[in-house]
């Protein structure tokens, strides 16, 4: 089914460990952990009496921001560069990587510490730096774990949600030569000890940015472990990569989002640290790379524009029953779960990611929890419509033909009855078939077909309607 998995270069594990979206290949712990955090985060958001009003307000702020990106981006650039930051623009991942490499060369960078950032995953920055002979170390605990394991994050907020404490203990024992332990505090201590050295040695820190405030020219980074603070402030050079959709108009809009994002993401009232970066610290350098990388494709599709409101909280992912069963890698790229299914087709193109919008039962659990009220299921069907009409793995002439015939049969009562008579006979006969082909086989693989009852409702109605009609 999943004919064209989207490969990140150099990540062979994707093909090995994933059977695609059609088969549940996620390790059990992933589903359990995602469900648990979804439930506890839900309890936190439900306990806020005005949470629904906050969501609506956040939706409106983002709507305004995305509709006015042209002005806000320039305003942000003007204000942050006035305080000494160097702002660079990047059309795509390749251009952003060039910027980073050039900065690294200029400052003679040998090693880089990275704060958690999904946009640098889009750029595959770690691999790019490595190829250029620069050592890059992830400093967020979850990211550090998946990097050590040679994997990619399975989740945008909790990258190692698929691993148990025992898995991490074994990994640390194997890769770092530490004594085996399953205790959370001891594991965190080990990571801290190893990472401390990295901060002190690093020549450059790279981070993403959660929000960029236009009027004040502020890059906002929020985190829990203190690693982002150390990564952005310890090395002499800080590079912040900012997706164009991160804009907020005013600083007054920020508190709303600082309330929403942690509650929806991890069930916290506030993250442990909130960094408001207005420019470089004295004697240091700050570069801000503003990157598009396919985001303006979303702007070009008005029915999909709300996908840019996303604040990457991961609530939709945790609450998604499909994600819980297939895991993060099955989505083939950086963004898993419902947000991946509505974003990746724009960012990578339908040709590569056209199948993602079909990986959903359209249950709507995602949009129910989305703190910025993105109408995810409606976007999914919209993208399905595009996928079957544009070059994509889902465009198929046989399917088109099937649905055209179906539409013809359903557009008149006589044709309908003829079709249904055929269907009833088919379902009856299928019991005697030794094997079931195609879609029928997919159904009966784990399910019985419905029993075919006596005459249909139409027949009954003909005989009984005088009892009911006016």
């Amino acid at each position: 089914m999943y004919t064209q998995p989207i490969h990140l270069d150099g990540a062979e594990f994707l093909t090995e460990k994933t059977k695609g979206l059609a088969e549940p290949a996620a390790p059990g712990s992933l589903g359990v952990n995602a469900e648990r955090s979804s439930k506890s985060n839900r309890a936190v958001t439900d306990s806020v009496p005005y949470f629904q009003d906050w969501r609506e307000a956040a939706h409106q702020v983002k709507r305004y921001a995305i509709a006015n990106l042209d002005k806000l981006l320039v305003e942000f650039e003007r204000n942050i560069s006035a305080r000494g930051a160097v702002v660079l623009w990047a059309k795509d991942a390749a251009e952003a990587n060039e910027h980073v490499l050039r900065i690294a060369r200029e400052h003679n960078v040998k090693s880089v510490v990275k704060a958690k950032s999904m946009v640098t995953e889009e750029m595959e920055l770690n691999r790019v730096l490595e190829t250029a002979g620069i050592r890059a170390v992830e400093t967020d605990l979850g990211e550090y774990i998946v990097q050590l394991a040679g994997q990619r994050p399975v989740h945008i907020v909790t990258p190692a949600i698929h691993m148990s404490a025992a898995d991490v203990g074994r990994l640390f024992a194997e890769k770092l030569g530490e004594p085996m332990t399953e205790e959370h505090t001891k594991l965190a201590d080990i990571a801290r000890r190893h990472l401390r050295e990295e901060y002190l040695q690093a020549d450059m820190g790279v981070s993403g940015c959660n929000f960029a405030v236009a009027r004040t020219g502020t890059a906002v980074v929020i985190e829990n472990e203190g690693n982002a603070g150390l990564s952005t402030a310890t090395p002499p050079v800080h590079v912040a990569v900012v997706g164009i959709e991160k804009m907020l108009p005013r600083l007054e809009d920020l508190p709303l989002f600082l309330n929403l994002l942690p509650r929806s993401g991890t069930g916290q009232k506030l993250t442990s640290y909130t960094h408001l970066i207005h420019g470089p610290a004295p004697g240091r350098k700050l570069y801000v790379i503003i990157i598009d990388n396919g985001r303006s494709n979303v702007l070009c599709d008005p029915a999909a524009r709300a996908a840019l409101y996303c604040i990457r909280c991961g609530a939709c992912i945790n609450n998604c029953p499909v994600y819980r069963h297939v895991g993060g890698w099955a989505y083939g790229w950086v963004y898993p779960g419902p947000i991946g299914s509505i974003l990746t087709p724009h960012l990578l193109g339908m040709k590569q990611a056209g199948e993602l919008p079909f990986a959903s039962s359209l249950c709507g659990a995602c949009s129910e929890v989305c703190p910025v009220k993105i109408d995810i299921p409606h976007q999914l069907v919209h993208l399905r419509h595009r996928a079957v009409n544009e070059p994509s793995p889902m465009r198929s002439w046989t399917e088109r033909l099937t649905w055209s015939v179906w539409a013809w049969m359903m557009a008149g009562p006589m044709r309908y009855r003829l079709t249904m008579t055929g269907l009833r006979i088919g379902v009856r006969l299928s019991r005697f078939l030794p094997w079931h082909p195609g879609k029928l086989g997919a159904w009966t693989r784990g399910r019985e077909l419905p029993e075919v009852p006596g005459p249909d409702f139409r027949h009954w109605w003909k005989r009984n309607k005088n009892k009911y009609e006016p």
Binding site: M1, L362, C363, P413, M420, R447, G454
Partner: protein, 261 residues
């Protein structure tokens, strides 16, 4: 409950229902063919509350299968037929949350023609019509079984109407209500999703079945028989769950009436 729905689908409930106004039945194709007893129960329920029932026999389907698969052009053709058939009717009642959501929410996305959108908004799910429009809170049904309720996701989230089926279900006499753990979670049917991504769909269904077993119920009731077709198919496949029956809520709400009618 409605709060967290993205947007509660606008429904045409103004001006309110006047006694004596007829309701047109929209019986989705799979109910017509495979579960006609649900359609009969729907007609009986409406009649009991004095609503004259008409059944436009030219009706076929709401277009949902093609729409959800991305084939909107094909779907539109079926939607137009639907609207031609139901145009003369003010109140349209359907015993499926999913098909109702197609009419009320997704017609607009598939075909923004105001005529189409307007007709879609006149479609009501059965329990919603009984509870919200007619004001029924108890149908007087008796159903001496251990039963649990699953509310289809389209009804719950697209229409924002988990209340009516829940309240009517709880009013049934003689029944032991066995609450379903993780009730809000999708059963994994999802229309063509069930055959496009069968492994994932089945895994979700198995989770639902485990929860049904945990609830201790002998009967699973839902306002969406498409979910039940999938859940029941899984239940009947295994000897240990074979005894658990599936029933539509309309059938439960008329249970035990014979004696008094």
């Amino acid at each position: 409950m409605n709060q967290s729905a993205i947007s509660v689908a606008p429904r045409q409930d103004d001006p309110p229902y006047r006694p004596g106004e007829p309701a047109a039945l929209f019986i989705p194709c799979y109910i017509d063919q495979f579960y006609p007893s649900i359609a009969r129960a729907t007609a009986r329920l409406l009649k009991r509350y004095g609503v004259p029932v008409v059944y436009p026999t030219a009706q076929t389907c709401c277009g949902q299968p093609a729409f959800n698969s991305g084939y909107w052009e094909e779907s539109r053709r079926v939607i137009r037929h639907f609207c031609d058939v139901f145009e003369p009717h003010r109140w349209i009642v359907c015993p499926s949350g999913s098909c109702t959501a197609m009419c009320r929410v997704f017609f607009e996305q598939a075909d923004p023609d105001p005529r189409i959108v307007g007709i879609g908004r006149r479609v009501f799910e059965l329990t919603e019509f009984l509870h919200d429009i007619l004001g029924v809170t108890d149908t007087g049904a008796t159903f001496p079984h251990k039963a649990t309720l699953h509310i289809g996701c389209h009804g719950r989230r697209e229409l924002g109407m988990a209340g009516p089926p829940q309240k009517l279900f709880e009013s049934v006499r003689g029944m032991t209500y066995c609450p379903l753990p993780d009730m809000e979670e999708c059963c994994g049917f999802g229309g063509t999703f069930s055959v496009k991504m069968p492994g994932t769909s089945l895994a979700m269904g198995e989770t639902k079945v485990q929860n049904i077993v945990r609830s201790g119920a002998d009967v699973v009731v839902s306002n969406d028989v498409s979910c039940l077709m999938h859940i029941g198919g899984i239940l009947r496949r295994k000897p240990e769950t074979k005894h658990i029956r599936t029933m539509h809520i309309a059938e439960v709400l008329v249970a035990g009436w014979e004696e008094r009618e």
